[in-house]
Symmetry: C2
Subunit: 428 residues, 2 copies
């Protein structure tokens, strides 16, 4: 620490980041033993204050809206940034929903009494300090703080510059209500500078920060994954597949393909690629092509696909690896469920992949061998989501296998400790 | 991959590491769906072959023993390296014990049916490929392979040069019996070079290797933690504490202190520091000092300690942070359980810390606030161990909070996936 302290003296930004991280760690030690009732009181009180102060929140938001054109935001993006009485009420309701979730901290995950009488319990505890970097709308500030604090973690919030005024006021409110309810105010801290160097400093402070969670574009996530010294919960992209098996109900297959692709184009669990078993290609492909085209989706197919759908463009190797996040889908005809599995494991993002089939063997083979965070049978890829899975709230989706995979809610922000009660046992 | 492949063409060592890692990944994809009965048959068959071929194993081991003085090994270290019919039988029994453990793979960790009828299950799956770097005796080669393969993971074993001949033959046997039993032979690979550069190459191959587990001295572990691009399961050191509370049974406290310190001096869960509540210092310190001194332990105490134990040397700040791994203990008198907790969280390794007390409030405060992988009440620190905790087998101990904490057995080498069965659901 001697060297780091010397640097801090000559580097104001580093000094600020270090002090913020240390305050977060100190707060996390207290927060770890705060009872659930206190955390829930904070969530409900915060909801009340957001509703009371919505006009003030709108005034802060107006400063962001005014500055938005200078950041090059499109009218649609500016519209999404805008806070209304309805969106503020939505933030308040989200806090109340998190209050209603079960407290994960203190749960006995497993426990046993050993032959020598030692009573061994594996107890759920918080991770410590979460560094959350996001480019999203101001409601994410509130959601993330709620999930982190409910799971006993202090959070350092680093939002986008486009929402700085809104985020500052929201974080101020959450910290003030924390103090009021008996939670350290430093449990919720917003990074008060838009200097990009701050992110680099925080990512080196693994002595104080337990995990970094980036949410935004792939370049942000890659930067965080490359620079972070602490673990990172992340997914880079979502090249999700729908595979229509020989034994598929083709009407169901069309509905699932269209929903997976078209329900929301810009999200990570949208399907980007369709695989079709050769046995049903002649019948299915013209149907699904018509349905997708009606939704304005561009089709890019392998040669076999183009025999049945002449209007499809030719798919390149790059198409099969692409996450379009837009109105395009790649299509390939495969010989078997095994070929579909190989294709998905090779080109996919290990995010979400779905099989449509009535064949139990095909379903079992697909779910066993597709190496993805979520594998669906006869359901839309769009269901890979914390809310849809019943986690109650979600801070992100992980495509890693270490620690957390799939939607990350309260439990995914926890660790455990072994608590052992004896009566004087010594080891023989 | 284009750049990496170009490098590989001009770098034979890198080429070897890359090929090894790719083979491991290919093997892991097959191994992930191998039934438990096949893995158990492999473990039992391997046990049989080790017993059958023990003379051949001893001949390979003799080459290591002959080379040992040239590596500067002490006679005691050479003795530990030596394989006898009894130690070979011990390796075989360890394999049989792992065969008897429950298969973690395929377990439904949680599951529910959502209101829309989606059947959501969180299913335990292997991590993939484990890179295990160790400096230990050849039995660790066998133990690590057993734990990795039983949990569905392929393993790349990098043992110490001192045991190379023994390890090579053991890994050959395990790979051959794997093939015989229907498991890919590449599920168990030993790095066949002692070039230190190989470790650096493997640690960069996060595309193929899921986790690195170093076991050995702190410098090895720091190197792996610094260089690895994949997650690392590790503990750097074990500065473990025994805190003797005001309400302690002092005879029990002496027994626990002596066992924690003296049972085995060189292990990570040995106590290195003793904290004593001021209320019992006058009575307890002379007793425990006599007992420790009788075991040949050097005492280094704070000024208050030295008032009651004049023979104790003066403890410096460095002593309170030290992991001696030898016959020394640091001692400090504290004012309260809170001061003990603060001291432990500041100077400790977050490994294993024990309180001796009859006071329930003190026990609850200590277990809640000491931020360590294992917190003991009225038990020796030496119990933090996979076998003692009932995990059945252990590949290491983690002091991190991410993914795995404390002793790491089969479950700690696993991840999960969400498997979702629907009947055509699409998202509204």
């Amino acid at each position: 620490m001697a060297i780091a302290d010397t640097t801090a003296a000559v580097d104001e930004l580093y000094d600020y980041c270090l002090a913020t991280a240390r305050r977060a760690q100190a707060a996390s030690a207290e927060l770890a033993v705060v009872p659930g009732a206190v955390k829930n009181a904070w969530l409900r009180r915060s909801a009340g204050v957001l509703r009371e102060r919505y006009e003030e929140i709108q005034r802060a938001n107006a400063l962001d809206i005014a500055a938005a054109p200078s950041y090059g935001l499109t009218p649609a993006a500016i519209d999404r940034l805008k806070l209304t009485p309805k969106t503020v009420d939505g933030m308040a309701r989200a806090l109340e929903e998190v209050a209603a979730l079960q407290d994960p901290i203190g749960e006995t995950i497993e426990g046993s009494v050993r032959p020598n009488g030692l009573d061994i319990r594996k107890i759920r505890v918080p991770l410590g300090v979460v560094f959350f970097i996001y480019e999203s709308r101001p409601n994410v500030t509130v959601d993330a703080a709620a999930i982190c604090v409910k799971s006993g973690n202090a959070v350092i919030l680093r939002g986008g510059k486009e929402a700085l005024h809104s985020n500052k006021l929201l974080a101020e409110i959450l910290a003030a209500t924390a103090l009021e309810c008996g939670i350290p105010a430093d449990a919720v801290q917003l990074v008060n500078t838009t200097d990009r160097g701050a992110v680099g400093h925080f990512l080196k402070l693994d002595q104080y920060i337990s995990v970094a969670i980036p949410r935004g574009g792939e370049s942000l996530i890659r930067r965080v994954a490359d620079e972070a010294r602490m673990p990172v919960i992340k997914h880079f992209d979502g090249n999700c597949h729908v595979y229509v098996d020989a034994a598929a109900d083709l009407a169901m297959a069309t509905a699932i393909t269209v929903n997976s692709k078209c329900h929301r184009l810009g999200v990570c669990n949208a399907a980007e690629s369709l695989l079709v078993h050769q046995a049903v290609a002649a019948e299915f492909l013209p149907q699904v092509a018509a349905a997708l085209t009606a939704q304005g989706i561009e089709l890019r197919g392998c040669p076999a696909t183009r025999r049945f759908v002449p209007s499809a463009k030719e798919a390149t190797e790059a198409d099969f690896g692409a996450e379009y996040l837009g109105p395009i889908i790649s299509i390939k005809v495969v010989d078997s469920v095994l070929q579909a599995i190989e294709h998905i494991n090779r080109y996919g993002s290990h995010h979400t992949d779905s099989i449509v089939t009535g064949d139990l063997d095909a379903a079992r083979e697909f779910t066993a061998r597709v190496d993805s965070a979520a594998v669906m049978v006869n359901a839309s890829t769009r269901f890979n989501d914390g809310g849809e899975f019943g986690l109650g709230a979600e801070i992100g989706i992980s495509t890693d296998k270490f620690h957390a995979r799939g939607p990350c809610g309260l439990k995914e922000l926890t660790s455990y400790k072994y608590v052992v009660y004896g009566t004087g046992q010594t080891r023989q």
